[in-house]
């Protein structure tokens, strides 16, 4: 649906069998400034030390770019078709493709007055997370890039869950969060090769696999203040580009963006895992000619590249957004633009809507 009338039509939300509700997140890529505050928030909270140094449950990568781990999009995994009967073979990335957990000379520079440049100590790395930051693609004056924050997609058909011979990974019944049971995990890493987004990580110190937990203690209000919080990556985001809630909360903005307006799309739908993290695709200005004038009708970010990431539906999504932008330019009402401009902060994190169930 791509009109304001869509809300009146019946919709059906497809969530996984045996799951009561499905947590979901929408990230508006047009708002991401690549500051990595989400990455640091996540790392500080969940992945400091203990064999987790190389892991970024949340990372932000520059697109076009090789990503984290390097070339993850070509690492296999996921399903062969939407039947979800046969899995696509996958690989475990080499450690170098994640990058090392390097020590930097921060204290020498900050406290000891060293004139050395800030750099990793005792290693000469050739790759790491964010190595190709802001590199992008295209030629001046039409070079382009955008940022892509990534967490576990807590998929409706998680191939990591299916890959585990011990059923150590499971989809939580109450909210569809995908977790690794640390008691059951024996570190075989079939989940690592099975996840096409490479969002399950092997902890060599614990000899077990670990992943994003959608900050479940926060959304359950189990923190020190006993208040319900959205995920750390969402709450700490300076431009507040994330919506956090439930896909089947039909009164919430996530449902509207995903199911009604269909402007929030999963990354690489062809992996067939049916992610529950959705993206508002980037709408870039048109290309410029050599004189600096806009070339109307020619996108700066090629549509075929966006189709590679988000599938064919990205065209309809961008057209819908464009149509609604025109409406607001003409002074008309647009619920879609209201949601995307986040004019109702109370709607941004809707995590207690099913508390009475």
């Amino acid at each position: 649906m791509s009109t304001d009338d869509a809300a009146q039509e019946e919709t059906h939300v497809d969530i996984a069998d045996g799951v009561d509700h499905q947590v979901a997140m929408v990230m508006d890529l047009n708002k991401c400034i690549g500051c990595q505050t989400c990455t640091v928030a996540c790392k500080t909270l969940w992945t400091e030390g203990g064999g987790r140094d190389y892991m970024y449950w949340n990372n932000v990568e520059t697109k076009p770019g090789e990503g984290y781990p390097k070339n993850w999009e070509e690492s296999g995994g996921g399903w062969k078709s939407e039947e979800h009967s046969e899995r696509q073979p996958g690989e475990i990335p080499e450690k170098e493709r994640y990058g090392g957990d390097w020590e930097f000379n921060h204290s020498e520079i900050m406290y000891d007055g060293s004139d050395e440049p800030l750099r990793p100590q005792n290693v000469d790395p050739e790759w790491g997370p964010n190595w190709d930051e802001d590199q992008g693609a295209g030629e001046y004056p039409n070079s382009y890039y955008f940022y892509l924050p990534r967490i576990c997609n807590h998929c409706t058909h998680p191939s990591c869950v299916e890959a585990c011979p011990r059923k150590a990974l499971y989809k939580r019944e109450e909210d569809g969060i995908v977790l690794v049971d640390q008691e059951r995990c024996r570190g075989y890493r079939y989940c690592v090769e099975g996840c096409p987004y490479k969002k399950v990580y092997y902890n060599a110190a614990k000899k077990k696999s670990e992943k994003c937990i959608f900050c479940y203690p926060r959304i359950e209000g189990e923190g020190p203040d006993e208040e319900v919080h959205a995920t750390a990556c969402a709450e700490e985001c300076p431009p507040q580009l994330r919506l956090v809630g439930y896909l089947d909360d039909e009164d919430g903005p996530i449902y509207k963006l995903v199911e009604e307006y269909e402007v929030a799309l999963p990354l690489h739908p062809e992996f067939e895992t049916v992610p529950n993290v959705y993206y508002i695709p980037p709408y870039a200005p048109p290309q410029h000619d050599e004189g600096g004038e806009s070339v109307r009708g020619v996108d700066r970010i090629p549509r075929d590249y966006l189709e590679e990431l988000f599938g064919d539906r990205v065209n309809q999504a961008l057209d819908t957004i464009e149509k609604h932008r025109d409406r607001t330019r003409r002074g008309e009402e647009s619920e879609l633009m209201e949601i995307l401009q986040d004019k109702n902060p109370a709607q941004q994190y809707r995590l207690e809507v099913f508390d009475d169930d």
Binding site: P93, E94, K95, R166, Y188, R189, Y190, Y201, A204, K207
Partner: protein
């Protein structure tokens, strides 16, 4: 040339005596030299306490059983592609402990799992939890579990209980100790455990024969979990029964005496043809 009759007669009797001795000794020795051991038997030798060391001299006195390994049936990626073809198993007891030594060829000693793509070599010895019934070979069954001794190249030894694929559960405290050596492109891993145990642990006190199977993983070949090279069920011949079926000894004795009879008749026949005195 004139042959001395008396000395000729002495020689023939010497030959006959030699043949009798040969037949009797043969009947005793031939079975052990040939494949007289029942199929799937792993003989259990007697050793001293130092059998915890896989290179201990004591192991050389224990019979070696060479087992063919094949890939375990599993839905895991690459499950049919395993690298280890054979394993050699020796079993022994002393007054208090049971020992199993497994040896196999593996050029690389994979002792670490410290990189996302790195897997350690491993070996497991599987017994029925309850010695009186043979469980399904693939990690046992829900009503017929297996007790597994599991060693990995990282140096860790676990004792496990499983009732089917994917149900492996580690004992809180392992009763099994291991020592491992990698030399000349071969792993030798010796497992040791107190022989008499109860509960979820297989009793190896010699009350009866005990089924046993082994599995081997080559870490650098990506082998882990159900992707492994496994043997069929064998049994540790530690029960009080005869060491081998008695008919074998009888058959070998009869065969030896028959050979002896034919030889004597032939010699006598040749002699008479030549006209030698009896």
């Amino acid at each position: 040339m004139m042959i001395d009759g008396d000395s000729g007669s002495d020689r023939s009797w010497l030959a006959v005596t030699a043949l009798v001795v040969l037949a009797v000794v043969g009947a005793a020795l031939l079975p052990s030299l040939s494949s007289a051991r029942p199929a799937n038997e792993v003989p259990v030798g007697e050793v001293g306490a130092n059998a915890t060391d896989p290179t201990a001299e004591a192991w050389t006195t224990v019979p070696n059983v060479d087992l063919a390994l094949s890939s375990a049936p599993s839905g895991l990626p690459g499950a049919s592609n395993v690298s280890v073809q054979r394993a050699q198993v020796r079993a022994a007891t002393n007054d208090s402990h049971a020992f199993v030594r497994v040896s196999w060829v593996d050029d690389t000693a994979d002792r670490n799992a410290s990189d996302p793509r790195e897997f350690a070599d491993a070996v497991a010895v599987q017994f029925p939890e309850n010695e009186s019934a043979r469980p399904p070979i693939a990690m046992g069954g829900t009503s017929n579990r297996v007790n597994v001794w599991y060693w990995t190249g990282t140096g860790r030894t676990e004792e496990l209980l499983a009732g089917g694929a994917g149900t492996t559960t580690s004992f809180n405290r392992s009763a099994v100790s291991t020592e491992a050596v990698h030399e000349d492109g071969q792993w030798h891993v010796a497992f040791a455990r107190e022989a008499a145990m109860a509960g979820n642990r297989t009793d190896l006190s010699g009350e009866q024969d005990v089924d046993v199977a082994v599995a081997v993983w080559n870490g650098s070949y990506g082998e882990r979990a159900g992707r492994k090279a496994v043997s069929e069920w064998q049994y540790l011949a530690m029960g009080p029964g005869p060491q081998g079926p008695p008919y074998e000894t009888i058959l070998w004795t009869v065969a030896g005496l028959a050979v002896l009879f034919v030889a004597v008749v032939t010699i006598e026949g040749v002699r008479r043809t030549r006209g030698e005195p009896a």
